[in-house]
């Protein structure tokens, strides 16, 4: 059963008087619980597609359906709600809020959303997540006091906090060394297996594509090939 469906998806960026097409009619279906890798060289449209799937950007043409809901027909507030309830986003450069501690950063999506959880339950859940990503001893640290790998683990915990169906990770290992990068991917894979969360991550590094069940190769804004294990 597909949780994400893209139909004839196009994204065109204006560049002065020119128009640059980042996506040129992408059709794609991703099933619930998939661990998907979006591969391709730089400029192939990976990030654009990830942003559109993550509902933080809109397509120029075409349709995107998340859990059967056409995102193009939703109002701003509905889109915010769908994004919050369904999707967790892991940014390439972590995007942690510098004024909040590790535990507060992870707790934030729960505070912003409508997930009914008592304060102590919330704390327990967040501490559990931080334990899962191996940062239980860093909960009161500020992001600036953590290494890149640690920050990315916080970002993963934050993305998982609101128990989303889908987690989008745009080049999650790009700013990490290879060992840390591999650990991060293994952690994501573990959550995927344990919780059934759908993961979609992008990378231009062929060495990490193999971890995915479903790999999509993008080139010049179109899907060149798809492989499923």
């Amino acid at each position: 059963m597909s949780i994400i469906k893209l139909s004839k998806l196009e994204k065109i960026y204006p560049l002065g008087k020119l128009e640059v097409a980042a996506l040129k009619g992408v059709d794609l279906e991703i099933n619930k619980g998939d661990f998907v890798s979006v591969a391709g060289p730089s400029g192939s449209g990976k990030t654009t597609m990830m942003n559109i799937i993550g509902l933080i950007d809109t397509p120029t043409r075409g349709e995107i359906c998340i859990e059967g809901k056409n995102a193009g027909t939703l109002r701003r507030a509905e889109l915010t709600r769908l994004r919050h309830e369904t999707i967790g986003f892991i940014f390439q450069s972590f995007n942690l809020l510098p004024v909040l501690s590790v535990i507060e950063n992870v707790e934030l999506p729960l505070v912003l959303g409508r997930l009914k959880m008592k304060k102590n339950e919330r704390r327990e859940w967040v501490e559990h997540l931080l334990q899962e990503v191996g940062l239980e001893d860093r909960i009161n640290h500020k992001p600036s006091e953590l290494s890149g790998g640690q920050q990315q683990r916080v970002a993963i915990a934050r993305a998982l906090a609101a128990k989303p169906q889908i987690v989008i990770a745009d080049e999650p290992t790009a700013n990490l060394d290879s060992v840390t990068g591999e650990r991060i991917l293994n952690l994501m894979k573990q959550v995927n297996k344990d919780e059934g969360t759908t993961f979609i991550f992008s990378s231009h590094d062929p060495s990490i594509w193999k971890i995915a069940d479903h790999t999509i190769f993008l080139r010049d804004g179109i899907i060149e090939s798809e492989t499923r294990q």
């Binding site: 507030a77 915010t80 709600r81 919050h84 809020l97 934030l108 999506p109 912003l112 745009d170």
Partner: protein, 478 residues
């Protein structure tokens, strides 16, 4: 969590926070100081005028021109100004008493030349209804002699005026001395002479108040041609009416012009007739008045009473004005000062809002990525706008409190200096002879409210811009 985020954002942006803090503190301080001074002067003026001269409300004949207790506020050029007389006095008085307003006193007002101790000077005269006048003005302290009595002609002068006259002429002035008043009418003059009954002083005199002369109403009425008695039906005896049937053509040529030899005319009778009062005391009280002064009970809403009375008394062609209008230009001057002060505060506030908005906009632009991230992880428009408003709210509360503390301390320090207020205008403005500004919690709350309002208003535009930031900015600015 949003509270923590807002508070920590302020701490993180120390430079802009400090700048905003100083700006809002300054505005709060200026507002608190200015408002305290104005409020003090308002109370001072009230003590000066309402407690001594005008009471809380004054009823006057409805006029096209603006009036105070002593006449027109602006010089009347075209016509010779005549102090308007209250119409339907008895009905108005009954209406007021029906409304539970028992502390009333009527006055006649005018200006005359006064001769005393060989000095002639123009003075404002108030013909007062006694003893009610002295009961509604406890600020009048009798120093010598006695208060004016209902049925007796007499005059009361201020201690300052008597001292000045004594100094000018080096002559002693005592209770019982004759005081002569002259008032012009048409092409002639009216002159009245009355005894000096008492010397008094106002508890808190305003400028020129030492010139005010209190006189019995009948003397002033006779000087200013105001109707002395009420119009009543008069019975004329038949033999008196018969005189009109005589031969008017030969009135001055007939032999019996000076009366027949058997007439009962005598010089002593004539002298007796002339020495008798022209009108009885009951007639005096029934004569025309220019104003009715009303003292309301403490705690009652004077504005409300004024509004109700104006509605009730409108059919009689009279208007009820407050003490400020009754006192005239001196009291109104504070209103103008207040108007300019609030205008100034408004300008400072506008400049402050523009500065705060600019600083906040810079802060929002700097945090575009963070706001984009918040949106990407599910923050609604309300949350984003709330975050910006909260930041400003915290800031304005802290800055407002700091501004208030500084202002409060500064005011206390100023009060301790006990700066003497040199002239009577400034003294009357503050209601004291030494500069002491009362520190009032209400003014502090007002100033804090202004600071908070300023903070919230300044957050509107940056907040509106912040909610337009799309989640994609979290990636673009990554």
């Amino acid at each position: 969590m949003i509270f923590i985020l807002a508070f920590r954002n302020l701490l993180r942006n120390k430079r802009s926070t400090l700048l905003l803090l100083m700006l809002i503190s300054f505005i709060t301080m200026v507002f608190f100081w200015g408002n305290s001074f104005l409020s003090q002067s308002d109370r001072g003026l009230r003590r000066t005028y309402a407690d001594n001269l005008t009471a809380d409300l004054m009823i006057q004949k409805t006029q096209d021109i603006s009036m105070n207790l002593f006449g027109a506020n602006t010089p009347v050029i075209d016509d010779f100004f005549v102090m308007p007389v209250l119409p339907a006095y008895n009905e108005i008085r009954t209406t007021l008493e029906d409304q539970g307003l028992s502390q009333l006193s009527a006055v006649v007002s005018g200006k005359a030349a006064m001769d005393l101790a060989g000095v002639r000077q123009g003075v404002p005269l108030l013909g007062v209804e006694t003893p009610s006048y002295f009961s509604i003005f406890p600020g009048i302290d009798l120093l010598e002699g006695e208060l004016l009595l209902q049925d007796q002609p007499g005059v009361m002068l201020t201690r300052d005026m008597v001292d000045e006259l004594r100094e000018k002429k080096g002559r002693e002035i005592s209770v019982g001395d004759s005081v002569k008043f002259t008032m012009a009418y048409g092409t002639g003059f009216r002159i009245r002479e009355v005894p000096l009954k008492g010397i008094f002083q106002y508890s808190n005199p305003g400028p020129y108040m030492e010139q005010i002369v209190l006189v019995d109403p009948q003397t002033l009425r006779s000087l200013s041609s105001v109707l002395s008695v009420a119009a009543e039906e008069v019975d004329i005896a038949d033999d008196t009416m018969a005189l009109l049937d005589g031969d008017l053509d030969n009135l001055f040529t007939s032999g019996d012009f000076f009366g027949s030899d058997d007439s009962e005319f005598s010089i002593s009778d004539l002298e007796e007739d002339l020495s008798a009062p022209a009108v009885s005391s009951s007639d005096i009280m029934a004569g025309d008045w220019n104003f009715i002064l009303i003292r309301t009970e403490t705690g009652r809403n004077v504005s409300r009473i004024k509004k109700d009375l104006n509605r009730l008394l409108e059919p009689y062609g009279v208007t009820v004005v407050d003490w400020r209008t009754a006192a005239g230009n001196a009291a109104m001057s504070v209103l103008f000062i207040q108007f300019f002060f609030y205008g100034g505060i408004l300008l400072i506030s506008i400049a402050g809002v523009i500065s705060i908005v600019n600083i906040m906009l810079i802060s929002v632009f700097r945090r575009t990525r963070e706001i984009g991230t918040l949106r990407a992880i599910g923050a609604s428009d309300f949350t984003i706008a709330g975050l910006i408003v909260l930041e400003n709210l915290f800031l304005s509360l802290i800055a407002g409190s700091v501004g208030l503390l500084i202002a409060w301390w500064g005011m206390g320090w100023l009060n301790n200096l006990e700066i003497p207020l040199g002239n009577s205008l400034i003294s009357s403005l503050f209601g004291t002879n030494v500069l002491v500004v009362e520190l009032q919690s209400l003014e502090a709350i007002k100033a804090l409210a202004v600071a908070v309002a300023l903070g919230i208003c300044s957050a509107v535009y940056p907040g509106a811009l912040a909610i337009k930031i799309n989640p994609i900015e979290a990636v673009r600015r990554g």
